[in-house]
């Protein structure tokens, strides 16, 4: 449905998939090399366009890495706004994914409803930042936006509306027998497979591996917040659906906590263009899992190395395992259940 360039070579016997080979690289833009040709400020915009769906978490991870190299103390208001956008991005990404999965199993109604409801989240983001996608609110040293009282009230009202809609969606898919038949028992991954392949994110949590960087290595304002990490044990596409939808509802609650607790004050500090020599490893929890950046500076205004590893990459190794002995007709459901983001993988 969301057509990303990716090539699968499936070996099929009768109706069952026996083997699969993947070929990607169609979206490989060489971003890590491009980052070496730009200065640190320009790179905020470059890394924000690794992927349009999870753009904010990329700029967050990058900026917090550079801020660590510069020894900057980011103001609390900026951290809260960064976290708010992280959660809004999680909501929009999971609703996007739900629509894509539903379309892939033939449930176009949910695709239309999920993407219609996603527009509410995008409206909030648009009002905050001026852009629906690739909003780049992060600057090195904080954020470039702020919120007023009136905006907070509007956002809270929209979040209430969104929560009602998502509860309705959850009710529909929990009671829709056909949807469950299409998603239960397909694309199974055990906890052992998840650990062996270093899989991260909702796929890992749906197989019982309790890992979430927001709780385990709090960044931005997550150490001030109270939230649940959702895990289940079944490890199939249905389990991943439940994890993601419930995470969306949890993210809504996080947004309310953030809006209620905004500390006020400045939203950024000045940052020098030249970064002292050093290295940093920065991690964050993207909607699809752990994103990790390694940045090395050599004292100039351009990074000597920016290494990006996105969460979909480890999930790709599991595809041959997930597709083995699956009916050909279930292949779209399995692939959609992984929430692939090929732009993230290829960079």
């Amino acid at each position: 449905m969301l057509k990303e360039p990716l090539s699968f070579l499936l070996t099929i016997e009768g109706e069952k998939v026996v083997d699969s080979v993947l070929r990607f690289g169609y979206v490989h833009r060489g971003i890590e090399r491009i980052c070496q040709n730009r200065n640190y400020v320009q790179n905020v915009h470059v890394v924000g366009r690794v992927c349009g769906i999870c753009s904010h978490v990329h700029t967050t991870t990058y900026c917090q890495g550079v801020e660590a190299l510069l020894g900057l103390q980011v103001p609390p208001q900026a951290l809260y706004l960064r976290t708010l956008l992280c959660e809004l991005e999680r909501i929009h990404s999971h609703l996007l994914w739900l629509g894509v999965l539903a379309e892939n199993v033939g449930f176009t109604t949910i695709f239309m409803y999920a993407w219609r409801d996603r527009e509410i989240a995008l409206d909030i983001v648009d009002e905050l930042s001026g852009g629906r996608v690739a909003h780049t609110i992060n600057v090195i040293g904080g954020v470039r936006i702020d919120v007023s009282e009136g905006q907070v009230d509007t956002m809270l009202a929209r979040l209430d509306e969104l929560e009602q809609r998502i509860e309705t969606l959850l009710g529909v898919i929990q009671h829709e027998h056909t949807f469950q038949v299409r998603t239960r028992g397909v694309g199974h991954l055990s906890a052992e497979q998840v650990r062996r392949y270093c899989v991260v994110g909702p796929i890992a949590r749906a197989s019982g591996v309790d890992v979430d960087l927001r709780r385990d290595a709090p960044y931005a304002a997550y150490d001030q917040l109270d939230f649940r990490v959702i895990t289940t044990e079944e490890g199939d596409v249905w389990a991943r659906t439940m994890v993601r939808v419930q995470e969306t509802i949890e993210s809504l609650r996080l947004c309310r906590q953030l809006l209620a607790g905004l500390p006020g004050g400045p939203t950024s500090v000045r940052a020098r263009l030249r970064v002292p020599p050093g290295e940093v490893v920065s991690r964050a929890e993207a909607p699809r899992g752990e994103v990790i950046y390694y940045i090395r500076s050599d004292g100039s205004d351009r990074p000597a190395r920016v290494k990006i590893r996105t969460p979909t990459l480890p999930a790709l190794i599991t595809i041959p395992d997930q597709l083995r002995d699956v009916n050909t007709a279930d292949v779209p459901a399995v692939l959609a259940g992984i929430d692939l983001c090929i732009a993230c993988v290829d960079r």
């Binding site: 057509k3 990303e4 169609y26 979206v27 971003i31 090399r33 527009e119 732009a343």
Partner: protein
């Protein structure tokens, strides 16, 4: 008379094929947004098709990478005439922020003849509708 009817039909029901030749998905999800209830381009007769053989308009997003160049060309050749190419987004117009990448060849105009350029990073759905309507008006 007959050709006027055909041209009218082409203007009123352009079927589009979307191909991402190397983009970040920003413009792609905004193109998908066009199909969803808020923007709903089906009221303009636009349907998103999966096969190049059924499509009138090719919506391209993303800069052209070396790996996707031949595939892009092949898809264009499979589309029956008359056909139009729309470059959606800054990357597709010129290569955008990635234009000096070692694997990036530039915008879609490096590979195909483009009929409309819709800039933006990413391109807003309103801009896309505007661009498509402008293109349809030129189909006479």
């Amino acid at each position: 008379m007959w050709s006027r009817i055909v041209r009218w039909a082409r203007r009123k029901s352009p079927w589009v094929l979307h191909f991402n030749s190397g983009g970040c998905n920003g413009c792609d999800i905004e193109i998908l947004d066009l199909l969803t209830p808020r923007y709903d381009v089906e009221r303009l007769g636009i349907l998103k098709e999966a096969s190049p053989r059924h499509a009138d308009i090719l919506l391209c997003t993303g800069p052209v990478t070396r790996q996707s160049r031949d595939r892009l060309r092949r898809i264009y050749e499979q589309m029956p005439a008359p056909k139009w190419v729309v470059a959606v987004g800054s990357c597709s117009c010129s290569g955008g922020i990635f234009r000096d990448g070692y694997n990036v060849l530039g915008g879609v105009d490096q590979v195909l003849p483009v009929d409309a350029f819709i800039p933006g990073c990413p391109c807003r759905p309103e801009a896309m509708i505007d661009g498509l309507v402008w293109l349809l008006r030129t189909i006479r």
